[in-house]
Amino acid sequence: MANQAFPRPQLTGQPVSQKTTVEPKTRPLPLMPSSSGEVADRLFGFAMLTCAVAILGLLVLIVYELVGRSQLSWHAFGWKFFAGRDWNPVEEHFGALPFIYGTLVSSLLALIIAVPLAVGVAVFTTEMCPKWLRGPLSFTTELLAAIPSVIYGLWAIFVLVPLLRQYVQPFLARTLGWTGLFEGPPYGIGMLAAGIILAIMIVPIISSITREVLMVVPQHQREGVLALGATRWEMIRIGVLRNARAGILGGVILGLGRALGETMAVTMVIGNRPEIARSLFAPGYTMASVIANEFSEATGDVYLSALIEIGLALFLVTIVVNALARLMVWSVTRGLPARAHV
């Protein structure tokens, strides 16, 4: 089909301009007037389609492999695998609950700490800080994301953990010990340390996405709120954050995704003990950590299969979390007016 808006010039060997002198000069010419261009276009489209399908195929293949190789463990333990608290390679009895618990709790903890911090940083850089500081500040935040996680792990071991052990944990135990979340011996190493180091690692992602979202909030929204006599903070809350919440949620999801799968730094500080304890001071273990730690030493077939099943579960948890979060974003962006909490 010829495109009506962009008629193709006849290729008769004559310069196009001679035949079309009556036409206004501004008429847009097609970028690729030759038919060989169209073939290339189709080829390109086909190549892109192949890539897209390949990605989907890769996903299916991963699931297929994980499912296939975890069969042994699946047949041995069934659903109880995810409810079992016992992880015993000697007796070949495996339950993954402590790892699932460790992954979810450490990630949740990370979010609780990181989200206010990241949003605060983003709000500060876009709305409050003087212009000259804006560039360096965002640059440094972004740079944090580029630090290898093993370095974070080292830092945590040498700086964070002693700090927690000596000051933070005794303080928390004294003030909030009654909640049961902060009791027991302050080792430093444990769930709390893992949550904090994860938080530090996901702050750059969340804040850089949030910053981008805040920057596209139109100026007239800010002015609209200000003109009603709002203070600066009210303007940020109503005119900026409210309008950007879907995007902020997107950044939080990405952060969560990173936290769930993060392995190295967490492994170095979480304590690596498959236990479920109420206290955040207690050591724990995550799904990613147990795979990384024990994969190379897994001797028995069932042992190996159990680790792969944990991998499968981690994969599924990540997918479900992401799907849920996207659903939330979707419901927010559909444009239903939520009740104002002005």
Partner: protein, 252 residues
């Protein structure tokens, strides 16, 4: 009730560029005053100095005196205090898209700490009535987002939002420039009614509009007030040659 606005020796800058030079004007209560002039002459800058929106732009600066009734805008009055009494309607309708129609109108009151449901209901209905939007939206107050209305409806919603906090002055910066003739007509009619209670300052590029709604008109050129007089006088018998040239379309 509207209040008198006195502007004395007002100068405004964007960085080093001076956008307003020694403006002296007086706006009468319960009247509408139109500001006209070619693009870039400083009308928006001026109107934004009246509610201190100008200073929200980085590096923007103001010198001079503005009195809104008994308030001295740049001396002893906070910007928030001032803006609660000087409402503003922008050129581009800017309802809050994440709020329902109701919440859009109520937003100013909620900022002021009003929580009483009955009082909010009353004010929302009154403001939407005042902006001639009530009949069109009354069935979807809570269902419809502020951004889900037509352009003209959005602008009337913004007017309702400004009126809800019961200001004394209403500033309008080309409120109809994004609207079709019918919506424009509605808003002009509205201005005509509103000026019984408010001091209205309206920037417009449309001379007929200025002639229709405003008792007084000021002509701006290159950041200065060239002429300020009764609208009739400006449009029929201006005393300045440049005003005449502009009115008769002899220059842009």
């Amino acid at each position: 009730m509207g209040v008198t606005i006195h502007v004395e020796n007002l100068n405004a800058w964007y960085g080093k560029v001076q956008a307003l030079h020694d403006i002296n004007l007086k706006f009468e209560p319960n009247h509408a005053t139109a500001l006209i002039g070619p693009s870039g002459c400083g009308k928006s800058t001026f109107i934004r100095c009246l509610n201190r929106m100008h200073e929200t732009i980085p590096e923007a600066r103001v010198k001079g005196r503005v009195r809104i009734g008994e308030l001295d805008a740049y001396n002893g009055t906070s910007a928030t205090q001032l803006r609660r009494r000087v409402g503003m309607v922008f050129q581009k309708p800017n309802p809050f898209p994440s709020m329902s129609i109701y919440d859009n109108v109520a937003s100013g009151l909620k900022l002021n700490g009003v929580r009483n449901r009955k009082q909010l209901d009353e004010v929302v209905e009154r403001s939407l009535n005042a902006s001639a939007l009530w009949d069109e939206v009354k069935d979807q107050l809570h269902k419809q987002s502020g951004a889900g209305l037509s352009g003209g409806q959005q602008q009337r919603l913004c007017i309702a939002r400004a009126l809800a906090v019961e200001p004394e002055v209403l500033l309008m910066d080309e409120p109809c420039s994004a609207l079709d003739p019918i919506s424009t007509g509605k808003i002009e009619e509205l201005i005509f009614q509103l000026k019984e209670q408010y001091t209205i300052v309206i920037v417009t590029h449309n001379m007929q509009q200025a002639a229709r709604v405003a008792e007084f008109t000021g002509f701006f050129l290159l950041g200065k007030v060239i002429e300020f007089d009764k609208t009739e006088k400006i449009f029929t018998n201006p005393s300045n040659k440049r005003t005449e040239d502009y009115i008769t379309g002899r220059f842009g």
